[in-house]
Symmetry: D2
Subunit: 358 residues, 4 copies
């Protein structure tokens, strides 16, 4: 269990960062979706090309090979399998990991669960697994296009540097920024901040803001699979994610009820709302307004400084910095957040279709 | 779908606030768990007796009748069904709802999904459904007792009034406070704040903080069912919940990587950590430290003030306050948060057992 | 697990034959289905009133009380819960069961699994649980009516007495027969056969034949949830079922390929087939022809004769016949088979709807 | 949906016979299982090398490449993905299929469901998909070895030629026979029968008998996932399977209750039974005796004779025999039946472990 997400539109992933390949099987994708492999590759490129100040990035090209489920340029309704070969398996320096606990790293907890110690680090828990999410999310987007549903995500906070307010931005604006921040002034501050952290050997966290436009009212499966519950589940499954909020989220605790309530009005003859504090979801069901949410990411654990730790036998020692060092992963999380959102919305669309009268 | 949570330890709920009864079926509860109905009733009482300043609370006693799965004082491994009769079905004043959209209310979105308009409000989406969660959570706790796992939850923020720091509190300390805040000074401020809001006809949100103690290392099902993903899913399924964070959560975005990392050390011959910024989970798996998280709740929508809205045919009108008015639901959410946590941990314990060598 | 069947149209049951009640929760039933409680009760009556030669039948009336999911005479899309109170809890004579293994009975295997020994017999494994299936199957039928889908089932074999050929019969013809055999001559032979067995204290098995008419082409979820796989799963979950075959089934092994193949032709301008050896399913998907299948039931274990056995400590002894004795349960299985078929078809209809373009 | 089988030990397959590859992801396989790739390849060889009188068999070697989930010669608990490349993609003669309905073939029903017509035949519905089942079944067997559980399957009926009685046979005896029949005399008759059919251009069905030895008492998940229900589900998902029976199955309908009941006795100080008419399962739970069952397979549809049919526009025409022609697929179904049984037992072992006290 745990390697599948979704009930009707499902993704099951496999693969370790140091194995032969990673990949997945997408199930439940309806037939007759026009296949657009260049679109999928453009999504993969967004993930690969994230900001990598002060480090030599892993240069995997991450090209998924699709093995099934497509015929004459369309999906067939059969499962769509894909494999992404691990080309960049250069030997990292794992010597320390044989006898030291690595601070901030998951290897210890995994060993508790599976009874297996893999000094190469990463493994299944590696961020590399997220490439499969982006490939599958792109397929979900091909499906969502039919409904004109759009998903935008960007970095709204990087460490203490924050955008003043959230709104919809075109993808071009977001992805022309190396830190995936569509506000040019804030972007500059973020880059300066990262440069300083880089010099100090430090790392930073941040927030990815995501907006889903044109989502029809009616999605969400009360009680336990409220739309926000499915979104929270998906977002907290991303490595390094520490928090999720939708609509006003944690800010809403300081709002008065009369202020928080979104007042209904009429717009072009249709019911609309004066504000959108709720975040496009009421009672667990989309209400036709924009759905928006935030995902918080902690700073990466690999700092370029020695850190105290203990050996596997309990002796005090130091963990020494190793080669690769990303100042932040938040920009690279942007397309992952969008991909997970696409998977959740696609799944709930199918769920809804199952009970809609035809 | 959507009415079940859990994969192995499962709860399926049913019932509307204005129907005959609510209830549920608990599946997967292992046999031989000592049945303790007074314990369960005490948990139900905690939910019922939450703070209700300025309102006449619904006086349901919420006594679940257990119909199956228990024999000679122990669980049998068969499903445990329970029914909670809706005794308090006094006719509320729903006349407005027939032709006005109620601000901040879920009825509109539900109508979009199901094509059904129920002017009595609440219905399946009502907070009343959470009584079934507390009953089931108490059964989960009976199971968790065997592992000495304890769950504590309390109100750490009520509107702008906040406790300075989070730590473990005994249940007695929490539940002797009508606002479920174990810090007597902060409690007093919270009550004052609520009194003021009550006078103004306003409502407040807040945060429930939850700590899980003695959870063994090894729980969590990567990749998509990381322990935090399951917790986030469960928490965001609670009515009025708007956000979830675990460990440092949103605060972590401002922390340096070297500060955030929890440094391993040795304590009584066992691996421990100097801090617990991670919140007891690494790579999606519990690491043996305390698991802690926050759930944000928005202010309730039923303010005691007229609010602008439109009729169902689009004419501007006012929504007038009706009888019942809770200044806040956050204190009543405390046992619900704890119950959902118990259900998640019980489910992950069974998942783990399924792959553990015997 | 194991107490739920279906993926989208789902039934979860609970209850033991000697507990307070049995019942279930139906999930996924679409909204706007016209509720017809008298129809449901008529289905319950069919199960209750099965042939009971030579025995005093348990006189439960088995009236399900529906607790949720219905509003103003229609389903709402919310879960439909129902409870059937166990009225007839008269104390049977279980004294033997305390120290003897009962031949042909499930108590031994259940004790191996759950570590619980319940001398009252039956319990969760009792045929009483099937009342919940019939109640839920009737709800599924309310849904299937919209598609004009009809399900007929009858006893085609009772011990060695067999109908010569299978075809569609009106329900009235089936249910006016106490042995649920619509062929009056065969029915007479069956009753004679049962009378003879009754005198000898013996029991008989048989076959229920089931036909599903007007099922649209396109149902079934390859690869593992082929329509026949779901039907087989459902049928083999019925107590005392020992075999399932669809179309020519086991008979097909003696047919030549050229004879077995159903030859396509044109009928009223639509594609039809000259024969229906396949049983209305090809490649796991319904093809628009009648779906038909057989379910074999073994003789009941409770014969009215002493039978050799051992005590729980291993001493040879005799199991003595107790009060209740049904010569056969096959007639009572008829509505259960039909109910399970209805649940399977309803589930596959929803599954199909989820991927159909709207 | 439909491409996954199992709840805890799960297999999801993908791939079409004319695509790039087929394969699957095995989830839930516990860690620390010793990996034995030569064992897996030997299982694949059993499927490939099945009897192919009178036809040039597809000469795929079917070597699965395992991509993940294995480290240092053991499973890790992570998903095990594998890919089997389709090497033999030689162009078959599909010209007829463009405008004729192929008798006995699934293409028509698939087109009804998915709205896609693929004249190349087979596709996802092809028997080729079963290679993935055998690969995964072999992995399940590696797990079952730890419990000493053995699975044997063989051809007991081929057309009208039948073995007189069923019993356990060593794999060597079964697989040295090209028709997978361990009784040398019957085997000879079967081969003669097939030779005659081959001359006539006909095809034959048959029965695979399967026995599971050393299965511990306690497996099976009442109510709906009784062990026989899971087995029936798995077996009826195999292409061309038409029936399933366990224990005495359809034969039990003619047995008297007193004869059918398996009489308990004591053997080496343990409870045993004088007979095993029940087939090793009581009340849906294994009782420690051998589990045995039969799976009936229809004759293959591809006869070497012209067959009447219609064009896609409804004109009468003839379907002409094409190149490939297997007289029977029953021998090749033997390892598939055994593989599906291994998957079911592995899944139920994990389910049981989840509720067993540790």
């Amino acid at each position: 269990m745990g390697n599948t997400i979704g009930v009707l539109f499902k993704l099951t992933t496999f693969g370790e960062s140091h194995g032969k390949a990673i990949g997945g099987i997408i199930e439940g994708c309806p037939p007759h979706i026009v296949w657009d492999e260049s679109f999928i590759l453009s999504r993969m490129e967004r993930r690969r090309a994230g900001f990598t100040l002060g480090s030599t990035p892993r240069q995997e090209e991450d090209i998924p090979e699709f093995l099934s489920g497509i015929y004459q340029g369309k999906t067939t309704g059969a499962p769509i399998a894909f494999v992404i070969t691990n080309r960049d398996q250069r030997p990292s320096d794992y010597s320390q990991a044989f006898d030291k606990i690595r601070p901030g790293h998951a290897a210890y907890a995994w060993e508790q669960r599976y009874g297996i110690f893999d000094p190469r680090g990463g493994g299944r828990a590696s961020a590399r697994e997220t490439a499969a999410r982006v490939a599958a999310g792109a397929v979900a987007e091909l499906f969502l296009r039919q409904f004109n549903i759009e998903i935008g995500a960007y970095v709204s906070h990087l460490g203490p540097i924050a955008m003043a307010k959230n709104e919809w931005f075109a993808d071009e604006k977001i992805y022309q920024s190396p830190v995936r921040c569509p506000d040019p002034e804030i972007e500059k501050d973020m880059i300066d901040h990262l440069s300083n952290l880089e010099k100090e050997g430090e790392t930073a966290g941040g927030i990815v803001h995501c907006i889903i436009r044109n989502c029809p009212a009616g999605l969400g499966d009360p009680i336990f699979d409220k739309l926000q519950a499915s979104l929270a589940h998906a977002m907290l499954s991303i490595p390094a994610a520490k928090g999720f909020q939708y609509g006003e989220g944690f800010r809403s605790i300081n709002m008065l009820g009369s202020v928080y309530n979104d007042i209904p009005n009429l717009k072009n003859g249709k019911i609309d709302f004066a504000t959108n504090h709720a975040g496009g979801i009421a009672g667990g069901i989309s209400n036709g307004q924009d759905i928006y949410f935030d995902v918080a990411f902690r700073p990466v654990s690999s700092v370029r400084k020695p850190q105290p730790t203990i050996t596997r036998s309990g002796e005090p020692t130091m963990w020494l910095p190793t080669g690769r060092h990303d100042v932040t992963v938040v920009p690279r999380a942007v397309p992952i957040v969008a991909s997970m959102a696409a998977l959740v919305i696609a799944d709930h669309l199918l769920r809804w279709q199952s009970i809609k009268p035809h």
